[in-house]
């Protein structure tokens, strides 16, 4: 059995803003080290889901091992650890970073530093990583590598002289990167003879072997067929397979301190293990788990209902399958008087929610009605202990509430200075509190504390349109703050439409209420009686509109002998009525819900 000298190992990751060329650069590194043959090569090897490719976001982390012969003539093992590229997985990003000793920080030579560049750089610095700044896309006509290098020095504090100019597209500068990884990133520390400690920084479900864990061995050695213990989860299993990924899995007998690889240990579902957990040996194991573990909690919730109630079972099966690959999704059955049977689903953030909904609709061909996203609130009652709620329906009567606290994020926003005014206006409108602002050339970096519920629906889209796509945004949860929040109900003829209830800030309740009532009025057809559409906080009506009773419904023409057509029209009219949802005695077409729930997206 051959173990690798830790001095010849380098573990690194690549951090970058979306579209700054992270995946293309990874491909070049793999090619340059012959880890990927031309035949295996897809455009972006590491992004394996169709959706990731389309959105340019890496959703599940992967990893790959390369052999590189450096200038000193020695062959090094370079483990590229891929990190999820979006903000809702920041905990997973932090675990992946803690599996490395260094990071390539990629910045687009034309665009310069963006919000995500910075947020990830801070995370990397926190994780004590050696940062190698790389300016990519120097082949672009609009590239200005010197300016961007200076920006890296000014904003992040890395010496401009250390910046490597690269074109991942043409391959220029790739060898210099590989050499810099060997020269600048320290080899893994860790004791090969100490009790085993391996960090699970990623995992996915494979339908053949069950759960596959991606681990970084920090101390000691893991062996095939060895009994292991998961220190946080508290379970024991036997390792059935150990693989390194170069870049397709290859079986090995052991993984020693400093190495990265895959562990398969007969675990059936992702829910059984936890990202950030420490694996040790069952016998003579480590006394303590590695630092940094956190329980991951869903922060954004929506009700998902099939448009056609017959698709309920299909939706259930689809959620089960998705959860196999993404343990951070939670769901439980929920019944709405208005929408029928569905699920209350929890997500790490709103991007996560969007991606899951898109996958359900695209990969599972489901038509869904999604209720307005809500966040986790902390309710402090007058009597009893504080508790968290995930749905407006769970909010008690206002008389019983002492205080409601809402989650707040620290948002980092990068914009060209021309658009600063629009961005400040947007943040102000979303109850933001400015923390600081810095100007770097023509770009401004501004940080705001923003309530999460103000950014869950359309903040990102609004920011993009207010800045013509030039603004970028990243956020990090900072905690719960008390706020003047109320539950807004929508009622038709006195009956609450449960699917449309919302928790909103008091100052926004009126505007939201009148928007909702107006939109419903547009879509609820006139019926035999007048219909009052009201928005209410508790028993107080804050907006009201009326759909008048039907006056006339008769088609004039009934001649020329085409009685069949007339009959079919009437039959269709009747069928249309049958498809409506009843709220009290009022018939509400599905389009009315869709339109009301889409408010704010437009």
């Amino acid at each position: 059995m051959m173990t690798i000298d830790p001095a010849l190992i380098r573990n690194f990751c690549i951090i970058a803003h979306i579209d700054h060329g992270k995946s293309t650069l990874a491909d070049r590194l793999l090619e340059a080290t012959n880890a990927v043959s031309e035949r295996d090569k897809k455009d972006q090897f590491l992004d394996n889901m169709e959706l990731e490719r389309e959105r340019g976001i890496t959703i599940k982390a992967q990893t790959a091992r390369m052999n590189f012969t450096a200038e000193d003539g020695k062959t090094y093992v370079l483990n590229l650890i891929d990190t999820p590229g979006h903000v809702d997985f920041s905990y997973e990003v932090s675990r992946a970073l803690s599996a490395c000793e260094g990071a390539l920080l990629i910045v687009d030579a034309a665009q310069g530093i963006e919000a995500q560049t910075l947020a990830n750089a801070y995370l990397a610095v926190e994780a004590n990583l050696e940062l190698i700044p790389v300016v990519n896309k120097i082949d672009l006509p609009s590239a200005d590598p010197d300016r961007v290098a200076q920006e890296i020095e000014d904003v992040i504090g890395l010496d401009a002289a250390d910046v490597l100019p690269v074109s991942a597209k043409t391959g220029v500068g790739i060898d210099a990167i590989l050499q810099a990884i060997v020269d600048r990133i320290p080899p893994p520390a860790g004791e090969a003879t100490a009790p085993a400690q391996a960090l699970i920084f990623d995992a996915y479900f494979d339908s053949y072997v069950g759960v596959v864990m991606i681990v970084r061995v920090v101390n000691g050695v893991l062996h095939k067929r060895e009994r292991i213990k998961f220190m946080v989860a508290g379970i024991e299993q036997e390792i059935t397979r150990l693989d390194v990924i170069d870049p397709t899995p290859r079986s090995v007998d052991s993984l020693a301190a400093g190495e990265v690889g895959m562990v398969i240990a007969g675990i059936k579902t992702l829910g059984d293990i936890k990202i950030g957990d420490t694996i040790t040996t069952a016998a003579k194991g480590a006394a303590e788990a590695l630092a940094g573990f956190q329980e991951v909690k869903a922060m954004v919730f929506t009700g998902l209902y099939p448009v056609d109630s017959e698709d309920y079972e299909d939706l259930k099966v689809a959620l089960e399958k998705l959860k196999l690959n993404d343990a951070s999704i939670s769901y439980e059955p929920e019944t709405s008087a208005a929408l029928g049977f569905g699920f209350r689903c929890g997500f790490l953030g709103f991007l996560h929610a969007e991606i899951v909904q898109e996958r359900l609709e695209r990969e599972y061909d489901l038509d869904l009605i999604t209720t307005a996203p809500t966040v986790r609130y902390l309710v402090v009652p007058r009597d009893g202990d504080p508790f968290e709620i995930e749905s407006p329906a769970a909010l008690p009567e206002s008389a019983e509430i002492h205080e409601i606290q809402e989650p707040v994020v620290l948002a980092t926003i990068h914009v060209p200075s021309d658009y600063l005014g629009a961005v400040l206006g947007l943040c102000q409108d979303r109850r933001g509190v400015q923390k600081d602002m810095g100007v770097h050339g023509t770009r401004v970096q501004v940080r705001y504390e923003l309530p999460l519920n103000e950014i869950v629906t359309d903040f990102h889209d609004r920011l993009k349109s207010a800045t013509r796509g030039y603004g970028s945004f990243d956020y990090d949860l900072v905690g719960f703050r008390p706020a003047d929040l109320v539950k807004l109900d929508v009622m038709v003829n006195g009956d609450a439409v449960d699917a449309l209830s919302l928790i909103v800030h008091k100052d926004k309740a009126y505007g939201r209420g009148s928007e909702l009532t107006k939109k419903l009025k547009e879509f609820i057809p006139r019926q035999q009686f007048p219909i009052a559409i009201q928005a209410a906080i508790g028993s107080r009506i804050i907006a009201r509109t009326t759909v008048r009773a039907v006056r006339k419904n008769v088609l004039a023409k009934c001649y020329g002998g085409d009685i069949t057509r007339k009959r079919k029209l009437l039959e269709k009219q009747k069928a249309g009525k049958k498809r409506m949802k009843m709220v009290g005695s009022v018939e509400i077409p599905q389009e009315a819900f869709l339109a009301a729930l889409r408010l704010g997206d437009d």
């Binding site: 035999q528 006339k552 419904n553 088609l555 001649y559 009685i563």
Partner: protein
């Protein structure tokens, strides 16, 4: 087989001839029409010849039935020459004996014979010849006497031409005139409608049809509405206009005998159109025409036949199987029951419980107890009248006739 008829089959037949050509197509029209800026003698002759072939092939389905009405509809049938119209009327007369007259053929029929006339294309010099050809009733597509509205409706004609046409019709000796009026046109006010009704009544027609402008999906107007480029009339205004028309026409001695139709007396009601509403036999000939075949041993509720809406397709069928130009729809018992109710309710007399029971073996309440109760409770339906169990719409129900009707059909 004439002696075979019963309480719901009068044993007669009405004949409808569809002449689909129009000089231009109105943007709200979804009828089966063919644009023909110039009809041309060859095209006209070919169409007439095809109609005669179809008549010959189809008449056996209506064997032994007396001719009750003849109707030339369109399209713009007045684009055809009086000679063609006469040839067709003679052929129909020869095919069916008139009621109470066993000597078929050789002369034009004396039953109600209607020609639809379009003010924009009529050569009023031809009207006396149409009269001589056997036409005894004209249905004139005036639509409005307001040039602004006519323009907005995309009509080719203007009010002065409509007036000339009406004068010429009276001068030619027509004593049974029907005028079509469209209301709830874009931008039309109740004042506009009042002026239209005033002038309409000055012409003292025997019959009036009023149609609320409908935005049919597959028309330029329908597409403009869907694209938000046009607005339909406000529902309340359209309801008020419906009531305005009814009030004004009733005060002038007209009876509203069907949702959209008014006549001065029972004898000037449209005999032909009533056949559809009363579910009597009609032989429809021509592209896009509909036939209603009476019930028979194999077809307890009769059948319908819809001819192809495309000219080429209809012509092809004439060549290959002129007896079966249209696709047959055999009526189910449930479908027929629903139709019997909603068609009857659109008429002033309403639904006869006796006639319904004779056809379906039970009174309306046997089949529609819950629906009838609900409609009476809402005040949309009135029960009783000459015979217990008869049903008719209330004033409110007439405005909501489709909502009432939908209760009596099956959801699909």
């Amino acid at each position: 087989m004439a002696e075979d008829f019963d309480v719901f089959d009068d044993g007669a037949v009405g004949v409808y001839l569809h002449l689909p050509f129009c000089e231009r197509i109105c943007p709200y029209c979804d009828f089966a029409v063919v644009a023909a800026p110039e009809l041309g003698a060859g095209r006209e002759a070919r169409y007439v010849s095809n109609l005669l072939t179809e008549l010959k092939a189809r008449r056996s389905d209506f064997e032994g039935r007396a001719l009750a009405s003849l109707y030339f509809g369109g399209g713009t049938p007045s684009l055809f020459t009086p000679q063609s119209i006469r040839e067709l009327a003679l052929a129909v007369g020869a095919a069916f004996a008139e009621r109470g007259d066993d000597a078929a053929g050789g002369r034009v029929p004396e039953i109600e014979t209607t020609l639809e006339v379009n003010p924009s294309t009529i050569e009023w010099a031809r009207l006396p010849d149409f009269r001589a050809a056997g036409i005894n009733r004209l249905s004139i597509g005036v639509q409005s006497f307001n040039d602004t509205l006519l323009k907005r409706l995309g009509r080719a004609h203007r009010a002065p031409i409509a007036r000339e046409t009406l004068c010429a019709a009276r001068a030619a000796g027509f004593d049974n005139l029907s005028i079509d009026l469209i209301f709830a046109a874009p931008g039309e006010s109740q004042g506009d409608l009042a002026r239209d009704l005033d002038e309409l009544l000055e012409w003292e027609p025997e019959h009036i049809s009023t149609y609320e402008l409908t935005f049919e999906p597959e028309t330029p107007f329908g597409r403009a509405l869907a694209a938000g480029k046009m607005n339909s009339c406000d529902e309340d205004l359209a309801a008020d206009m419906t009531l305005q028309i009814e009030g004004r026409l009733k005060a002038s001695g007209f009876g509203r005998y069907e949702i959209s139709n008014y006549s001065r007396g029972e004898e000037t009601r449209s005999q032909h159109n009533q056949r559809y509403w009363q579910r009597q036999a009609v032989l429809g000939l021509g592209m896009g025409a509909h036939s209603a075949e009476a019930r028979s041993a194999g077809l307890p509720h009769g059948a319908r036949r819809a001819n192809p809406r495309r000219l080429g397709e209809w012509e092809e069928r004439i060549r290959t199987d002129p007896a079966r130009t249209g696709d047959e729809e055999r009526l189910s018992v449930a479908g027929s029951r629903g139709e019997a109710v909603f068609l009857a309710l659109r008429q002033a007399e309403g639904l006869s419980a006796l006639r319904f029971e004779a056809e379906f073996g039970g009174s309306p309440r046997v089949f529609f107890e819950a629906e009838i109760e609900a409609m009476i409770r809402r005040g949309w339906l009135i029960e009783g009248g000459r015979v217990a169990g008869d049903l008719r719409l209330s004033d409110l129900g007439r405005l909501l006739a489709d909502d009432v009707a939908a209760e009596f059909v099956a959801a699909v």
